[in-house]
Amino acid sequence: MTFPRTHSLVFWLLALTCAGQAGTTVYQKPSEFIRAACGGTLPPTNSLPLSAAHQARIKRLLGHSYKPSRVRYWISGTRLVVILDEIGKTQPITAGFVVSGGRLEQVKVLIYRESIGSEVRRTSFTNQFKGATLGGSGKLSRRINNIAGATLSVRALTELTRLALYLDKVRPK
């Protein structure tokens, strides 16, 4: 069977078009992050229903309301552990947050689905968030340096950090 030259050309053009599209990268399973943050065990799951007042405040932090309208979180001592999702450019970034006493202890990118901008997973970037608190105006107490080429992912993580700090503030204690 002969394969016409034009078909072969179209095939290679399409193959090259599709090349370079990245898939999902799981850096750490969310359950493993929670276990690591909670001393090796998975504590009972709690749920915070987001009321209209919560969503109005979240809208100012994220620029939009948070979906889903219930947020799951885990408590270990005084620490809140929460897994949050936010769209970077077109795909959601899943990140784990540990907050204690209104201060961010840890942020880690767990699942990254975008084709570019995965530099936000590096500890040199995420360490900038350590110790950050949420000001009255909804801004972080620390200035976060941008990463060239990963602006939208940086923005998404900064917004999620604000949300995690807000959730620690409003969760039942």
Partner: protein, 249 residues
């Protein structure tokens, strides 16, 4: 002999020869750039940023239409479909995605199970809750159903696990209890409506296609390389043209 060789060399490197051949080879790509450039320049007047692309081939190039056939499952008055990982509820595209495993309807909630996650919606279709790997007894989920007590039951790794009413806690349950499992059907009957929903949701207009045609991105690296080469060729042809003008004078 050497004079013959130098004449041949002069002819090979001559401006006229290169001007002619480069012009002939890159005439079509240059025409392509000119036409797409003009279209982009007048995209507002032509309404290119409003006209939606309906060509199935083009939409597939941009991954706007998934491969294969859509699958769907019904629960109560709800129909949930999945096509290439995109989920649809009542014909509308959901932001959540995954491989559909099944759907069950509780009195006030709809539970959609994908192989890796479970999504909970209220009776109006508002997204309420998400159970990821951290909230499930394991993944992948094989089946989802409702038991006699109205609890959501998941089949994972051959074992059954029931979710509490608030879907915060799960427990292993016996294999013997009756469970009404959700059934997934494959069919192309809704394909047209789903494709329309995808096209509407994507807001995919001709403006983007023309932009990618102009930059060559529509054909990937090869297209971009061709546009680069055309640009360089135009510069070279112009320089040779200028040289020829001065030679003649």
């Amino acid at each position: 002999m050497s004079e013959e060789r130098s004449r041949k060399r002069r002819r090979f490197w001559g401006s006229r020869r290169w001007h002619r051949y480069l012009g002939a080879v890159f005439a079509l790509p240059l025409l392509w750039l000119c036409i797409t450039g003009l279209l982009l320049q007048h995209q507002d007047d032509l309404g290119l940023d409003e006209r939606r692309v309906k060509s199935e081939w083009l939409l597939k190039q941009y991954d706007q239409i998934p491969e294969g056939e859509p699958q769907f499952a019904k629960a109560g008055r709800f129909t949930v479909a999945e096509w290439g990982g995109v989920l649809f509820l009542g014909g509308k595209v959901l932001e959540e995605s995954g491989t559909l495993v099944g759907v069950v309807a509780k009195p006030a909630e709809l539970v959609v199970a994908t192989s890796e996650e479970v999504f909970v919606y209220d009776a109006q279709g508002t997204y309420l809750d998400r159970l990821g790997e951290e909230s499930l007894p394991g993944v992948p989920i094989e089946k989802v159903g409702l038991d006699d007590a109205g609890r959501v039951v998941l089949k994972i790794d051959g074992e059954r696990h029931a979710l509490s009413d608030d879907v915060l806690v799960h427990e292993a349950v016996s294999e013997n209890g009756a469970v009404s499992w959700s059934v997934i059907k494959t069919g192309g009957a809704e394909r047209g409506a789903l494709q329309e929903a995808l096209v509407e949701g994507a807001g995919f207009t001709w403006s983007r296609v023309i932009t990618d045609l102009h930059s060559g991105s529509l054909l990937g690296k090869v297209g971009r390389l061709m546009v680069d080469m055309t640009g360089v060729a135009v510069i070279v042809v112009t320089l040779f043209g200028i040289r020829l003008v001065f030679k003649r004078t």
